[in-house]
């Protein structure tokens, strides 16, 4: 009797959700485009230096800002180096650094943020205030200070950028976990005597994946730009190594002459950003979360 009466025409549409669960990660056009773009850049990062016609530091001609087709395939930069080769070399550096940085900042930020929310009390207070203090510094100045003090090797740059980014992730992760940790199912786990790790990983993390994934897409882009900014100040990627962000900064003066050598690496960054965010959107759709597009509606 109870079953017949509890049926709700809207909720019990037969198998609607179960059917979806089976083919959960079906590729949509959005997913296809995203994976194609990012896959292309991954291939470039892996094999780019092998097919590059020149080394990243070779000076091809004494013409700075040569237009596309005249010297090299995509012209030359402010020192007369081959833009095409430098973009191929730069893919590895740019994507590698950004990926490692973002992964690091997410691991640190979300772990600490979740812990602050779950433990609460003084632990949360101390962690949050320390985080606020770090956030209070303009990130570029803080980065400058730390890197100047510790030396500008790539591991230190990556770590510094990751820690600074992690403060933003901490904020988000803590706020998300606070929302989830007041849910009764978390209390059920607490009443069962479950430890902090179990509650964090099994009860809270799965319920915060959608916003965290969306944040990942944005943070990835910021990491590229942040590293480029540090490089520009002479503290990040050291010349003559190629990095897209560095290339944009180096060649920005050429924009006023109509040179494309700053626009091409910028376009590469843009396409990578779009690709990553398309994948994030596709993922959010698959797990039934809100995509950025839905949030705007």
């Amino acid at each position: 009797m109870t079953d017949a009466i509890e049926k709700d025409p809207l909720k019990s549409a037969p198998g609607s959700k179960q059917g979806r669960a089976a083919s959960k990660f079906r590729l949509t056009p959005v997913g296809w485009v995203g994976i194609t773009i990012v896959g292309f850049w991954i291939l470039v990062a892996l094999f780019g230096p092998l097919v590059a016609p020149h080394a990243e530091s070779d000076v091809l001609s004494n013409r700075s800002f040569a237009p596309i087709g005249e010297v090299g395939r995509l012209g030359t930069d402010y020192l007369g180096r081959d833009v095409f080769s430098r973009i191929l070399y730069g893919a590895r550096m740019t994507m590698g650094l950004a990926l490692i940085t973002t992964l690091l900042s997410f691991t640190m930020g979300s772990t600490l943020g979740f812990m602050a929310a779950v433990l609460g009390g003084w632990t949360d207070n101390v962690m949050s205030r320390v985080n606020d203090a770090v956030m209070a510094f303009p990130s570029i100045i803080l980065g400058l200070m730390v890197i100047t003090a510790l030396g500008s090797s790539l591991p230190i740059v990556v770590l510094t950028v990751a820690v600074i980014d992690a403060t933003r992730v901490f904020r988000l992760a803590r706020a998300l976990a606070m929302d989830v940790s007041v849910m009764d199912f978390v209390d059920v786990a607490r009443a069962r005597g479950e430890g902090v790790w179990w509650i964090t990983l099994r009860e809270i993390l799965p319920n915060t994946m959608s916003p965290l994934a969306a944040e990942f897409g944005i943070r990835f882009t910021y990491a590229i730009l942040f590293i480029a900014a540090l490089s520009f100040l002479g503290l990040g990627v050291q010349p003559p190594a190629a990095d897209w962000g560095v290339m944009v900064r180096e060649n920005r003066l050429g924009i006023s002459f109509g040179a494309t050598s700053a626009l091409l690496p910028a376009a590469a960054i843009a396409s990578l950003t779009v690709g990553v965010n398309l994948i994030v959107d596709w993922y959010l759709r698959c797990v039934g979360g809100q995509s950025a597009e839905d949030m705007l509606k």
Binding site: K11, D184, D187, V188, A191
Partner: protein, 608 residues
């Protein structure tokens, strides 16, 4: 007389996300005359709210009015444009929703929100609208009618807010009022005030009303006619008296059967004696001198000096109005909220205040079931994982042994075994609550704490859960602390009852003792506030002094004197407001905390 609202062959369709439109309301026809109250009853999913909203020309997101005629006076609502309908809603029809707290903007003053519709539609100058609103406040018996409009929503009580929402709806002088379960979220004592206010104003204004509810006892008080819905269709309609006393359709009879009997003496003498005989053993759970509250620095004390105990296999009901500390008590027992002072004893051993410091076996033996089935189950876990984790954690079950136990548990709560692979979103409210229960039963506890487990469910579904609980309790011999604000539910199966008021125990004893004289004045108020399934009950009860004095004051948390003093018809000035009430024990295991002598309390029931 011409009907004010006339709906003919109405079809409303709804679409689940990503799915196709399915009919929710299937060809309904109804009419309402001016000054008439039509009640639509049925459980959630029966289409009663959808039908009522259609009378406003409104369909909820994901729904659409597919076909049919909705005539309001001379207007055919379905033919109107979006803007015209919106105009209609402010002026001729108005809606009162279930949760007033959610309907008010917390950042704006109440008065501005009440007069908003006349301001938006420009029907009258602001000063006139305010004067009208003040008049409405007065008629709805709101305190301080001249100034209450300057307050913010959080500065008034839940019952007052519900009446203010009625004022908001009535401010544009609508011809038709749609009330959607306006008292369901309220305590019985508050419900009386709100129902009385609604009834008076509908009569004075000659307004037509549609009253949507699943509570037949409430319907009996307000409705002229009743319409019973099931699965989007009308199964029966007729005059209130006819439906209540001579239901024709089987479903209406089921609904009538699900109405819990009035909470008077349902426990038979035999039950009580059996409990008394077994009751001398060591209690499975005991609470002594417990004080608890919230806040780290400025503590708000919610529970004061609570003493109670639960014998093996016994059901102890804890009742009281919302905010009296019932749920806090359960959280302290479960170790989710460490107490300030006092002890929680489990099988005679004092438990650590925090759950994480308690022994695993103690945790296993005491399980908690929460009120809201929607948030008590992690939406990202399948039923298999939800039920499996406690088995693995407490009993070390894995693999096939665990799967077998999960099937047993599902069978125990009358769910099919293949539900194990479902996510909570694929279950109805009642099914979720069954999974909740199964999770608590899994580790073979000797006591379960049930915190308002039926409050979020429909009457029929809730009754099925209670029936299941009763069966399991007698079969497995599990003790149960059953927390509820609904006296009828508690009375129907508790062995003992503890009455809480403002964080203090005011009366406790066997169900028989608590539900028969002598009563604590507060218990008396609660008992007389439960609606009875007969017309005219509301008018009768409003004559009693319990109801009148109960409506005057608000609950206050205090440790000076008796907390109930400002609502008590028997309060002794100079005593009750200064000294804590003494404990009186008319019989063993029965206590009343009151300054009045037991012989005084004995007679109070005879007042009306």
């Amino acid at each position: 007389m011409n009907a004010l609202l006339d709906i003919k062959d109405l079809w409303v369709e709804g679409r689940p996300p990503g799915g196709y439109y399915v009919p929710i309301v299937k060809g309904i026809s109804l009419s309402v005359n001016p000054g008439e109250v039509l009640a639509i009853i049925g459980e959630s999913g029966s289409g009663k709210t959808t039908t009522a909203l259609a009378a406003l020309g409104y369909a909820r997101p994901g729904c659409r009015i597919a076909s049919g005629e909705i005539n309001l006076g001379d207007t055919e609502v379905t033919a109107l444009t979006h803007e015209q309908r919106r105009d209609l809603r402010g002026n001729q029809v108005a809606y009162v929703a279930q949760s007033a707290a959610a309907a008010f903007n917390p950042a704006l003053r109440i008065g501005d929100q009440v007069t908003e519709s006349s301001r938006i539609h420009g029907t009258m100058p602001q000063t006139q609208a305010q004067a009208l609103a003040a008049d409405l406040y007065r008629r709805l018996d709101l305190p301080d009618p001249e100034n209450i409009g300057r307050r913010y929503p959080h500065q008034v009580s839940g019952g007052q807010l519900q009446r203010l929402m009625a004022a908001m709806a009535l401010s544009s002088q609508p011809q038709l009022l749609v009330l959607d379960e306006p008292t369901t979220a309220l305590d019985v004592t508050t419900q009386i005030e709100v129902l009385t206010a609604f009834k008076d104003i509908i009569r004075d204004r000659n307004t037509a009303a549609i009253y949507v509810t699943h509570d037949l006892s409430v319907v009996a008080q307000v409705a002229d006619r009743i319409l019973v819905m099931l699965g989007g269709e009308i199964v029966e309609q007729g005059d209130t008296e006819d439906i209540l006393h001579r239901p024709q359709h089987d479903y209406t009879k089921t609904l009538m059967a699900a109405v819990r009997p009035p909470p008077r003496m349902t426990a038979s003498q035999d039950d009580v004696q059996a409990v008394d005989a077994a009751g001398r053993a060591q209690p499975v759970l005991e609470v002594t001198d417990l004080t608890a509250g919230y806040g780290r620095v400025l503590k708000t004390v919610v529970l004061r000096d609570v003493n109670m105990s639960v014998e093996r296999g016994q059901v102890v009901g804890i009742i009281g109005e919302s905010g009296c500390g019932k749920s806090t008590l359960a959280r302290v027992m479960a170790g989710l909220l460490p107490q300030m002072t006092g002890t929680v004893l489990h099988n005679g051993v004092a438990l650590a205040p925090a759950a994480r410091n308690r022994a695993k076996d103690d945790l296993r033996r005491m399980q908690i079931v929460f009120q809201m089935p929607d948030v008590a189950l992690n939406p990202t876990h399948r039923v298999r994982d939800l039920l499996g984790r406690p088995l693995q954690y407490f009993l070390g079950l894995n693999g096939d042994a665990r799967d077998k136990r999960i099937s047993e548990l599902l069978e125990m709560v009358e769910l099919p075994a293949d539900f194990a692979s479902r996510f909570p979103a694929e279950l109805s409210g009642g099914q979720k609550q069954r999974v909740n229960l199964a999770r608590a039963l899994g580790p073979e506890p000797d006591i379960i704490l049930c915190d308002e487990v039926t409050s979020a469910l429909d009457t029929v579904v809730g009754a099925a859960i209670i029936k299941l609980l009763k069966e399991l309790e007698s079969r497995l011999g599990i003790a149960n602390v059953f927390i509820s604000h609904d006296l009828s539910t508690v009375a129907s199966f508790a062995d003992r009852i503890v009455v809480l008021y403002a964080g203090k125990v005011v009366e406790q004893g066997s169900t028989l003792d608590v539900l028969s004289p002598p009563f604590h004045p507060y218990t008396n108020l609660l008992l007389s506030s439960v609606p009875e399934l007969r017309t005219g009950w509301l008018e009768d009860v409003m004559q009693t002094r319990e109801a009148i004095s109960g409506m005057t004051g608000q609950v206050k948390l205090t440790d000076v004197g008796c907390p109930f003093v400002n609502r008590c018809p028997l309060a002794i000035k100079g005593v009750c407001d200064t000294e804590p009430p003494p404990k009186r024990a008319p019989s063993p295991g029965f206590e009343i905390h009151c300054h009045r002598d037991v012989s005084d309390l004995d007679t109070t029931r005879a007042v009306h």
